[in-house]
Structures are given as C-alpha cells and as structure tokens.
C-alpha cells in the first residue's frame, strides 16, 4: 500500500495515547545518544565533510542509507506488519521544484549552523544552549515557508 504522505507523517490507523507515545521518547533517546557520541552533531564534522577532509560523515550517512534500504526491502518482501498488526505505509514523494530550491537552501543552512534538524535538539541537550536560538530561527523559517508556500514555485 503506497500513498502520498509527508515526511514523518503518522500512518498508524489506531489512535495513540500519551502512554503509547512514550516509546518514541525512548527511540529518540537512543538516537540522540548515537548522534552526539558519533559527533555528527558537530559543526567541525560537517565542515570536514564539506571540505572533503574526513570520511566520517560519508561513512555514517552511507552506512545508514544501506542499512535503511536493506531493512525497508525486507519489510516489503516479507510484508512484515507493525506491532499493531497494520501494513507498513511507504511514502511516495513526487518530485517538485522545491526539492531543488529548498534543498539548496537547506544545504546553505547546514553548512552555516553545522546542524540538521536532529542535531539541533541533541546539541541543546548537550549543553550548547545557543542552539535554542538556532532552533527558534528554524521554526520561524518553517513558519515563513508555510505562509509563503502558495507564492513559491513547486
């Protein structure tokens, strides 16, 4: 079953209680520890990546893509159901001009802040509190996009 959905969109049919949401906190904690301990949250590691002076980030992202691809293929092939017994929904993402323009804009921001969205949360937790400002600015950026959306080429 494939349908058009947005990134991160909840595809579970069953309604979740606050208690059920606790499991996402746990996955987040696990994920946040990996992010910080592998230093992918670091501005320096992002600079090394864009200066081609270290394999680290390419290794992390490349391995993650391979593992995610194999896992996704296994779920599709064996039609593995979710814990709730539902069929997994895989998002179709039709191409639009925003993939290019927005993608370039995110790339600019990535090189400036040295952080994609996930690392921002991890950095705040690690005590780099100035990233609260970066996060607030990112939320404002998303807000600006939401208001201007219809005027932008897609």
């Amino acid at each position: 079953m494939e349908k058009i959905v947005e990134e991160g969109q909840n595809n579970q049919t069953r309604i979740e209680t606050a208690a059920a949401n606790f499991k996402y906190v746990l996955v987040g904690v696990f994920f946040g520890i990996v992010f910080v301990k592998s230093e992918v949250v670091s501005w320096f590691r992002i600079q090394e990546m864009f200066r081609l002076s270290s394999f680290h980030m390419y290794g992390v992202i490349g391995t993650a893509v391979v593992v995610a691809t194999i896992s996704t293929l296994i779920i599709k092939k064996f039609k593995i159901k979710t814990l709730q017994g539902e069929e997994v929904v895989f998002s179709e993402r039709p191409f639009h001009k925003g993939n290019i323009i927005g993608g370039l804009m995110f790339g600019f921001g990535w090189a400036l802040t040295g952080a994609c969205p996930g690392p921002m949360y991890g950095l705040i937790g690690s005590g780099f509190f100035v990233f609260i400002v970066a996060l607030a600015s990112a939320i404002l950026g998303t807000y600006a996009y939401g208001i201007l959306k219809d005027k932008l080429p897609h």
Partner: protein
C-alpha cells in the same frame, strides 16, 4: 564504559541510525523524519490562517515526543557518556578554519562562535540565526531533511529524495567554500 565514552566509529553510528528507520516503521507505522517537528510546533504554537498549518497536529505528536527524546539523549551523551578528551579534527579542516579565524577547537562546537557571546557578533548571528532560518525554510520547501530525504526517502527509492540530497550537498559545498570566507571577514 570507556569505549562508550570515546567518539563512536562511523560504521556503528551508521548502522544504528539506519536501524531507526525499520524501528519506527514497525513500532507505529512512522516514517523517520525530524524536520516535520518544526511544522508541528508551528501548527501547535503559532497563530496562522495558512492552510499549511491547518491540520490535526496532535495526530503527529509522536514526532514531538521523538525530538524530545533526542534532546534527552543529548543530555545523557554529554553527562554519563561525556568524552573526556578534546575533539580530534582533521588537520586540513583545522588549519583552514584557523585561517578563517576560528579559535576554539576543543569541543563539539567552536564555542567562540556558537555561544551566547558569539551570537552577538556579526558572524555568529549569521551562522546561528540566518543558518537556522535556512534550515527551517529549506527543509520544509524541500519536503524533508537528511533523515526524511537522504535516509528514509532514498531507502524507499524516491527520485525526489536523491535530487534533494544532491542539492543539500551542493548548497553545503557552495557556502563552505565561497560564502564562509566572506562571512568570517565581517
């Protein structure tokens, strides 16, 4: 515990980050993606008549629990699992950044720029505030970030995600090599 405190190897991090994709699919039919959290925070907290923010954000609140977890994970990593050693940075990047004017190299972030005193400088303001704004605007316009497009999208063979990832990298190279030197002269 010692090997947990040291910086983790890319292969371990890559496998664990990659596994987040099937974990989220299987525990609740959720496609892995983080930048959507910005949108849900807008929909939940900021006033708007824009149709883009007119949806049931509570149904998507799992994403906010998830990013709250990432924040907590950061707390754990920086306390229980804190690395006692200074940051090791590739020599060529270290020297190029030192030439630009970066002075602090011992932590995850150059604290001369990414700190509240750094925020009050022109370059700090551009890197943190303008950079953050571009991350928020760009990810939503592109329809995802590194997690949503580069990992989840590509693992599901989406052409748009491959295009977006190429553009993320192109934008990053452009700013690193051509724009950062100008910003550091300000």
């Amino acid at each position: 515990m010692d090997f947990l405190r040291q910086p983790w190897h890319w292969s371990i991090a890559g496998v664990l980050i990659g596994l987040t994709v099937p974990i989220l699919y299987l525990i609740g039919n959720k496609p892995f993606g983080i930048s959507s959290s910005f949108k849900h925070i807008c929909a939940a907290c900021l006033p708007s008549k824009a149709p883009f923010f007119d949806y049931d954000w509570k149904k998507e609140s799992w994403n906010l629990f998830f990013v709250f977890g990432i924040f907590l994970g950061g707390v754990v990593a920086a306390t229980l699992l804190a690395n006692p050693e200074p940051m090791k940075i590739a020599i060529s990047t270290h020297d190029q950044l030192a030439n630009l004017g970066v002075t602090q190299f011992s932590q995850l972030e150059p604290t001369d720029i990414f700190s509240f005193s750094g925020l009050l400088t022109v370059k700090g303001f551009i890197l943190i505030v303008a950079g953050g704004f571009l991350v928020g605007f760009g990810t939503r316009y592109a329809g995802g970030c590194t997690s949503g497009h580069s990992i989840t999208g590509i693992s599901n063979f989406q052409i748009s995600s491959v295009v977006a990832t190429i553009c993320f990298m192109a934008g990053g190279f452009f700013v690193t090599w051509l724009i950062l030197p100008l910003i550091f002269k300000l």
